[in-house]
Amino acid sequence: MKRASAWLVSMLIAASTLAVPAQVAAYDAHVWSNSDAFKATCLGFNDTYPQQHYNLSVAQFAKLGYSPVLGALGPGFTRSAFLANVLADYAVYVHSHGDNYWAASGAPNIDSGFLQDPGAGNCNSSKDMVRSSSIKAVTQGSFYNIVIMSTCMLGSNSSTMPAAFEIAKTKQAADYEFYLGYVYHTWDSSSLRFEKAFWSYINGGAPHSRTLAAAFAYAASIGGYEAVSASEPFQANWWGNPTYDGTPLRPAGR
């Protein structure tokens, strides 16, 4: 009887907790990875790197404190889903084909982009492009803690992708923001190795005791990255706040 009473009290407390919207902040993160373009339907083999990158980022964003960590591996990664969700995000990760394309206004203006997942059974084409200009149109005035473009080229100095997330290309930013991308064409094995080292450092030690810039420096330092060619060495790049530790927070959060 006593046990039943205790159970009833517990249930009532739980129910009252559920009925009142809690004022705890959600720090949304979305992890998107294009896998269908790299499946047997299109390439003749199933490339496992999109899933490896996706699994890693989902787990590590959560470990850093972002919640909920949503997004999609495969067909759910559409342009409309990305653009519909990005405004509420604090952290964004994309693994796909990416490049610095000419803008609609023509060369030399650049409008960087990446490809959405083409959907099950389909292959990518240029219609799958998600342009930085489209992202900027929905994110304007907002802020982002962490943006990772795990694609080719979007970490180069000419990339327009950081600006789509209101992140200036400086390594002395005052706001709590960090953008990571790769400068040249990049082997998937190299980007995966780099991201593993990056995450292992930032999420190693006591929680939030290390900076994202130091995690970047650590990952860049360990080496072991295969270059695509002599003219396209493996090279990652970042912009943002050099002292930011990756804690999910709003601009006035500290």
Binding site: L18, A19, A22, A25, A26, D28, V31, A37, F38, C42, L43, G44, N46, D47, T48, Y49, Q51, L56, S67, P68, V69, L70, L73, L87, H97, L115, C123, N124, S125, T139, G141, S142, F143, C152, G155, E166, Q172, A173, V183, D188, R193, K196, A197, W199, S200, N203, G205, S209, A217, S221, I222, V228, A230, P233, Q235, A236, N237, P242, R250, P251
Partner: protein
């Protein structure tokens, strides 16, 4: 970054509302974990890093080696040093690590030694200096050579030197060779800041399996690759052209076969690497593919892809 009050409020309101909805809907599922299909998730899980504290008075040799390395590279001296033994599931490696920590608790430098006590990596993690000028390429190479030797590494003329967009400095590489054959990705790497100081010295080396007693030739490897590529392109609007076939030590991997995924990293094997350029539809988003063909038995043991 400029902030619009409206946008901030939208993000905050959306986040709070989302949590409220989640709490009402299901107290047990606040963090909406992504859903995996079982077969896709198998064997490709996420790694962990396990650290065990090492005491300076118990591991005097380790801490002495760290001081020697730190001073040889001109790294900052912390107010305290922290030692750890690390089982690094991210890198499939086991090593001892000592960090230099400043008075604010920030890590200034990290140095790692492998199980044989050899330097694995040393990096300063304080902020790079804002420098308007940059040391010349030759100056960076000289600085890198001097420091790597001071840290106990046996190096000669570098394989390549590249300007680094992230630091504004240089990265100097020495490719690892074994029996005259390059080990894919393995290298000694020194990063040089724009002012000529050393940011990092690292040596990436994987275990190598014994070379096969009998090797298949490059023509046979090309035939294996061609047959594989023919099957890949059959009935599709894409095809593949072999650009080059060359011998390397490579890491077997699960790139094209999830069943090959293992928790442990296998030793590198001697293989023919077929460098393949897609054409047709796939060329729009798959830029380059490499196929690893075991130099002994001609089987496909992995590969890589540039998306």
């Amino acid at each position: 970054m400029r902030l619009s009050g409206t946008a901030v409020n939208v993000k905050w309101a959306a986040g709070t509302a989302a949590v409220a909805v989640c709490l009402i809907a299901s107290a047990g599922h606040i963090a909406a974990a992504p859903q995996f299909s079982g077969s896709e998730h198998a064997g490709l899980g996420t790694p962990t890093r396990v650290e065990t504290a090492l005491a300076a008075d118990a591991d005097t040799a380790l801490f002495a080696r760290e001081v020697e390395t730190r001073d040889a590279l001109g790294f900052p001296v912390g107010v305290k040093r922290i030692g750890r033994h690390v089982l690094d599931g991210f890198e499939h490696a086991e090593y001892d690590e000592v960090t230099e920590v400043d008075s604010a608790g920030k890590v200034q430098a990290v140095t790692q030694f492998d199980s044989r006590g050899h330097l694995r990596a040393a990096a300063r993690l304080d902020a790079a200096p804002a420098s308007k000028s940059r040391v010349t390429r030759d100056g960076a190479v000289r600085s890198a050579q001097k420091s790597a030797r001071a840290a106990g590494l046996d190096i000669g003329t570098p394989t390549s030197t590249q300007a680094d967009q992230a630091t504004g400095g240089w990265t100097v590489h020495w490719a690892r060779m074994q029996a005259g054959v390059r080990v894919r990705g393995d290298e000694t790497r020194v990063q040089v800041w724009p002012d000529g100081r050393i940011q990092s010295v690292a040596r990436a080396e994987h275990d190598l399996a014994a070379a096969p007693v009998q090797r298949i030739g490059s023509d046979a490897a090309r035939q294996v690759a061609s047959a594989n590529l023919d099957s890949w392109s059959a009935g599709r609007n894409s095809g593949y052209a072999i650009q080059n076939v060359y011998l390397e030590w490579v890491g077997p991997n699960a790139a094209f076969d999830p069943d090959r995924a293992t928790a442990d990293e296998a030793p590198y094997r001697l293989a023919w690497v077929a460098e393949v350029k897609p054409f047709g539809d796939a060329a729009n988003y798959a830029w380059l593919i490499s196929l690893f063909i075991d130099a002994g038995d001609g089987s496909i043991i992995g590969g890589d892809l540039v998306e």
